[in-house]
């Protein structure tokens, strides 16, 4: 710091703490609401202090609450979300690192074309091609299947660009040395590039896990069989009640549990997370 201004430093701390409190407010309220019973919640504004129904609410949401909405068990949906997030993460990383390897380390006809085809995916998010993509998946018989839930989401331009960018910085001498020693492309990839890419793969894992975990529109389109519902769809179903009251105490308990895994990933792998975030978007 250039000059010492204790009062300004104090203000800075105060501003940040206040900012944090405001940002954390919805989550704090969700946590307190998840420890009260429904009659307390319905009888006026949410109490600001935790109640005594913590164990009761969380065990209800984990065991029986979702059945009332025609949903599978909460833990079943959580498992679906987890599988979906992990398959998307692994799939995106695998196919992106292979395509980046091809684009950087080989010269072949249509290389440029391949690059642009991958680039175009950036311009076609699911949201702009809802109907035709749904139709393709239906024609291929992939509705209500793990393949339908994950495969269409694992093309990734950003991950490919990240690996491409990184491969360009790998010294050419490594490749030359490997070739002199008689290593073929696959051996070079496995024994040299892959170990060098460890940090990038780790950073992408964090970002892509979150990406997979929070998917909403795609599972909504391709699954009608409740056995494939993910947590995000479950949350939506639980707040869509035709008549009667929303069971806010359970919805909030469910929300708290649903946001926990990605938040923990971000907090405990913060360095990788920040790296992944700042490097994939450019």
């Amino acid at each position: 710091m250039v000059e010492n201004r204790p009062f300004l430093t104090f203000l800075t701390h105060a501003f940040l703490i206040l900012g944090f409190l405001v940002v954390a407010l919805p989550v704090y309220v969700a946590i307190t609401a998840s420890t009260h019973d429904i009659s307390t919640l319905m009888s006026g504004p949410v109490p600001l202090l935790p109640g005594s129904h913590f164990i009761e609410n969380y065990s209800t949401i984990l065991t029986s609450a979702s059945a009332a909405h025609g949903l599978p068990n909460y833990s079943h949906m959580a498992l679906n979300s987890l599988v979906m997030a992990l398959v998307i993460t692994a799939g995106k990383i695998a196919i992106s690192i292979l395509s980046a390897f091809a684009i950087v380390y080989f010269r072949f006809p249509f290389r440029q074309v391949a690059f642009w085809i991958i680039f175009v995916t950036l311009m076609l998010p699911v949201e702009v091609r809802i109907m035709p993509t749904y139709k393709i998946v239906a024609d291929l018989g992939m509705l209500n299947s793990w393949a339908g839930l994950t495969v269409p989401l694992i093309a990734s331009a950003t991950a490919t660009f990240l690996f491409r960018q990184f491969f360009m910085t790998v010294p050419d001498e490594l490749l030359e040395a490997a070739r002199v020693d008689g290593a073929g492309p696959l051996k070079f990839f496995r024994d040299i590039l892959l170990p060098l890419s460890r940090t990038n793969i780790g950073a992408l894992c964090v970002i892509l896990f979150i990406y997979g975990w929070v998917q909403y529109l795609w599972p909504l389109l391709v699954t009608t069989d409740p056995g494939y519902y993910t947590l995000m769809m479950g949350m939506k179903r639980m707040v869509t009640v035709q008549d009667g009251v929303i069971e806010w105490h359970l919805v909030m308990a469910g929300s708290v549990l649903a946001m926990l895994p990605p938040i923990l990933v971000v907090v405990f792998m913060q360095r990788l997370f920040i790296r992944g975030l700042t490097e994939t978007e450019k």
Binding site: M1, V2, E3, R5, T12, F15, L16, G19, P26, V27, M42, G44, P45, V46, L98, F101, A102, Y105, F106, R107, F108, R111, F115, I117, I118, M123, L124, E127, V128, I130, M131, P132, T133, Y134, V137, V151, P152, A155, M168, D172, L175, P185, F188, I210, W213, V214, Y216, L217, M232, M235, K236, W248, A258, P262, V266, Q270, F273, L277, T278, E281
Partner: protein, 294 residues
């Protein structure tokens, strides 16, 4: 486009390596997009037996449809509000954290996690906070004479989704602004301090102008985010209502196509959205990579 000085010279291998990525891209991205373009020029009979080429009819109808124009305008208001709100707060937090050397990491941890909250959960949390009968905020607003009701009042519903969407995006902007601020040369700050300008003046005359590439990049990313990634927030809370007040363009594509099965119009809307994303992506890659010079 550059490659390595030395490369491998297998003929088949590069195609095999690219095959999975290209196959998925062609089948699930490019083919559907082409289909959308094609069916935006066609009319299908209700049973799907025959299609007729209708030229630009769907587009003409859309652009003359007050509902669509309304939705376009609302999406613009939504996108700009979320972007400005999330960027101003992100910048303010970043500037504050940047001032503190020792506790910077601690505050970063406190501020980054909302990024990981799913949009649908973010929507539900704020919806609960604004809930007319049990929510905390309407209770306080009532004291200021505001009767909060996002089920009936379109403006209230819009504010609800703006707040929920911006809340999730603050941490993203914060991280990028913080990285930008930390790369401002310390020598410039010191020189200005010696010349007698205080922290506030230094922020506005040195840091902020030097941040302009970051700001521009974030502006594009935020608009993109608000237009396309906020679908879950709208779907889980307001459902586009009341009276279309929160029907964004993406939500309308979904409603008209997937729910209402109006394929021609939905496709034409998809194509218009594609043009918007293409424009945003073009601007991002054409102008952001070059960086503003200083």
């Amino acid at each position: 486009m550059d490659t390595k000085r030395t490369t491998f010279n297998n003929r088949l291998l590069p195609y095999l390596l690219l095959a999975p990525q290209l196959a998925i891209t062609l089948v699930f991205f490019i083919w559907p997009a082409a289909q959308a373009v094609k069916s935006s020029f066609e009319r299908e009979d209700p049973f799907g037996f025959s299609t007729v080429f209708v030229g630009f009819t769907h587009y003409q109808r859309l652009l003359a449809d007050p509902n669509y124009l309304d939705s376009l305008w609302r999406t613009a208001v939504f996108a700009v509000s979320v972007t400005v709100l999330a960027m101003v707060l992100g910048l303010a937090f970043a500037a504050a954290v940047d001032r503190l050397a020792r506790s910077a990491k601690f505050y970063t941890t406190l501020l980054v996690w909302p990024y990981a909250v799913a949009p649908v959960v973010a929507g539900v949390l704020w919806w609960f906070l604004f809930n007319t009968s049990t929510g905390l905020l309407p209770y306080f607003l009532e004291r200021f004479g505001i009767r909060w009701d996002h089920d009936l009042n379109g403006t209230h519903a819009m504010i609800l989704i703006i707040v929920a969407a911006a809340w999730k995006q603050i941490s993203y902007n914060f991280l990028f602004f913080l990285a930008g601020l930390q790369s401002v040369p310390q020598s410039l700050i010191e020189a200005a301090a010696i010349d007698g300008s205080g922290p506030v003046k230094r922020f506005f005359t040195i840091s902020l102008p030097l941040l302009s590439p970051t700001t521009f990049f974030l502006f594009i990313i935020n608009v993109n985010y608000t237009m396309f990634d906020t679908f879950p927030i709208v779907d889980a809370t307001t459902g586009g209502g009341p009276a279309q007040a929160t029907t964004t363009l993406v939500y309308k594509v979904y409603q008209d196509g997937y729910v209402g099965l109006n394929l021609g119009s939905s496709s034409a809307q998809s194509v218009l959205l594609m043009l918007i994303v293409m424009l945003l992506t073009f601007v991002q890659f054409r102008f952001v990579e070059r960086r503003v010079q200083y």
